[in-house]
């Protein structure tokens, strides 16, 4: 257990030491999104009855920040360690591949939650937004960031260069988050795009997270939770297999 806790501590210390970049910068950019979108789209139709667009937007933006930062944490930590070579210190140690997996995932979860909480705390001081159910909010934030942390491990191990990782982030993670209903309710889309959005796992994370705020969502939070959990299990299985085989890290 000490080995796992140490790696977790190291991962937390790593992002905390550059907290301006890893926690405060994403908070600021999320708040900028909120200011701009709420200003421009104030007249937008209510997504849910009785929920103003700005208020509808907040949970989506918070969850987007949670997910993107969870992904960024494990992926950037791993690729930096790989490129600078200091991953060797973890690889030389008796840490098991499971301990490595859970330490990186949990560190990603904590970073994601820290950024999300920060954004939320700032927004509540400007907007009137209440949380209907903390357990749902926490559950989706936790499992969503764990999923993105695991995907980040895959990307960090797979990428040989920073630009490959940037490509993964810009061509996979970013479109999936932007097209997941962060800025709109799925019901406002044409049927074809609604159908397509149902294939996007990020949609279920955002929708379920939003349910925790408004007690209203595009689909049942139980279905969303099931789908997100299934994705997490599948991605974790792949990640654990990669770590066990030593793919790209033990030649």
């Amino acid at each position: 257990m000490t080995g796992f806790l140490t790696l977790l501590y190291k991962e937390l210390l790593r992002f905390w030491k550059v907290g301006f970049q890893t926690v405060f910068a994403p908070m600021v950019s999320t708040l900028l999104y909120l200011m701009i979108f709420s200003q421009v789209l104030e007249a937008h139709a209510e997504a849910f009855p009785g929920v103003a667009y700005t208020v509808f937007l907040i949970p989506g933006l918070v969850m987007m920040a949670v997910l993107q930062n969870a992904f960024a944490n494990s992926s950037s930590s791993l690729i930096q360690s790989k490129i600078t070579g200091n991953l060797v210190f973890v690889l030389l140690s008796p840490l098991s591949y499971r301990e490595i997996f859970f330490a990186y995932v949990l560190a990603s979860v904590i970073r994601g939650l820290a950024v999300g909480l920060g954004v939320y705390l700032v927004t509540v001081s400007f907007f009137d937004i209440a949380v209907a159910s903390f357990p749902w909010v926490f559950l989706f934030a936790f499992i969503g960031s764990a999923l993105l942390g695991a995907i980040g491990i895959i990307a960090g191990i797979w990428a040989d260069k920073f630009d490959q990782l940037a490509a993964f982030q810009n061509f996979v993670i970013l479109p999936l988050t932007f097209l997941s209903g962060v800025f709109y309710s799925l019901h406002s889309l044409p049927p074809f795009w609604q159908q397509l959005s149902h294939l996007n796992p990020f949609f279920y994370m955002i929708d379920g997270f939003r349910y925790g705020f408004f007690n209203a969502s595009d689909i049942s939070p139980y279905i969303s939770l099931g789908i997100v959990a299934a994705c997490f299990v599948a991605v974790s299985w792949v990640t654990l297999r990669m770590l066990k085989s030593g793919y790209k890290i033990r030649h």
Partner: protein, 309 residues
């Protein structure tokens, strides 16, 4: 005697490259062992397989009796490795680096030993300095310190003195020799043959993935039958029959290479017949460097190695 490291029929292929071609090696507990060989001989590949950083294509390796693949946790707890590259984590200070490394090995309260290694490696004044701010030599010391945090019985150093100044080299060797005296098994690779000769009791020479020599240094040196004779003569003329033996001339001295001590007699006879007086004579023993060149450079071995691949 117990084996610190046992390598059996180890093969490693990287695509078409056969980097290790059936290595067998036994290193006993308490040995000070050197792996020598030209660049690309497979030294680092072998060390990486022992350390679990590289997976073998076939064959097995144990460290203190623990298989490095099936019982990797026990194997890695008994092994400390100093990597060849100067790697470090730029986020942390020296002390943080060492505390974190201890934790990876499951050690919670290791501060006393960490202070001890900091002291031994002369790192106390740098303990709270960020790794980025250290010179190359200091980073090298931290790498050595990191490999020792869990007090491993077996220590492997991959070219620990590459690019390190003389003072640090000597300090480092003093410390490592002390560790060896305290019972640690030490395995190193080096390009400095004088270091291997001064420190190690046994060496393995690698060439193109084969062990071409494996013996104590004394045996290796005596296995190379040539010796050299350094002569100052009066008159300063070497009889023509001895001219082909000259390997070097340095102000007033002739250095002759002999195929063995028995050839000395022929030299003395030739000198007496030529009525040449010997003013000074010295027999030069071959050193490890010459052994190394003879063994790794001889075409015969090169050919065998090529055939075996």
């Amino acid at each position: 005697m117990a084996l610190a490291i046992e390598v059996k029929q180890l093969h490693k292929r990287f695509g078409a490259l056969h980097a290790l071609c059936g290595i067998d090696l036994e290193i006993e507990v308490g040995e000070f062992f050197a792996l020598l060989g030209p660049n690309g001989a497979g030294k680092t590949t072998l060390i990486n397989i022992i350390a679990g950083l590289t997976l073998a294509t076939s064959g097995s390796v144990t460290v203190m009796g623990h298989d490095v693949v099936s019982h990797y946790r026990q194997a890695r707890r008994t092994l400390g490795v100093v990597p060849q590259e100067l790697v470090y984590d730029p986020f942390f200070t020296v002390r943080e680096t060492l505390t974190i490394q201890s934790g990876y090995y499951g050690l919670k309260s290791n501060q006393a030993w960490i202070e001890e290694i900091l002291h031994q490696l002369d790192l106390v004044s740098k303990a709270d300095v960020n790794m980025r701010a250290l010179s190359g030599g200091m980073k090298r010391r931290v790498l050595v310190a990191q490999s020792l945090v869990h007090k491993p019985p077996v220590i492997v150093l991959d070219e620990p003195t590459a690019g390190v100044d003389v003072e640090l080299r000597q300090g480092l060797w003093r410390f490592i020799r002390q560790l060896n005296r305290d019972g640690h098994t030490v395995v190193l690779t080096t390009h400095y043959l004088d270091e291997a000769e001064a420190l190690c009791n046994r060496v393995a020479m690698l060439k193109q993935g084969h062990i071409v020599a494996l013996d104590s240094i004394r045996n290796l040196i005596s296995s190379v039958s040539t010796c050299s004779l350094r002569l100052r003569l009066s008159p300063d003329i070497l009889p023509s029959t001895l001219q082909p033996l000259i390997s070097e001339r340095e102000d007033g001295f002739y250095i002759l290479t002999l195929n063995g001590y028995s050839q000395m007699e022929d030299v003395l006879v030739a000198l007496r017949l030529a009525k040449t007086r010997i003013l000074e004579m010295e027999i030069l023993q071959p050193n490890l460097e010459e052994v190394f060149v003879t063994i790794t450079g001889s075409s015969g071995i090169g050919r065998t190695a090529a055939l075996a691949t």
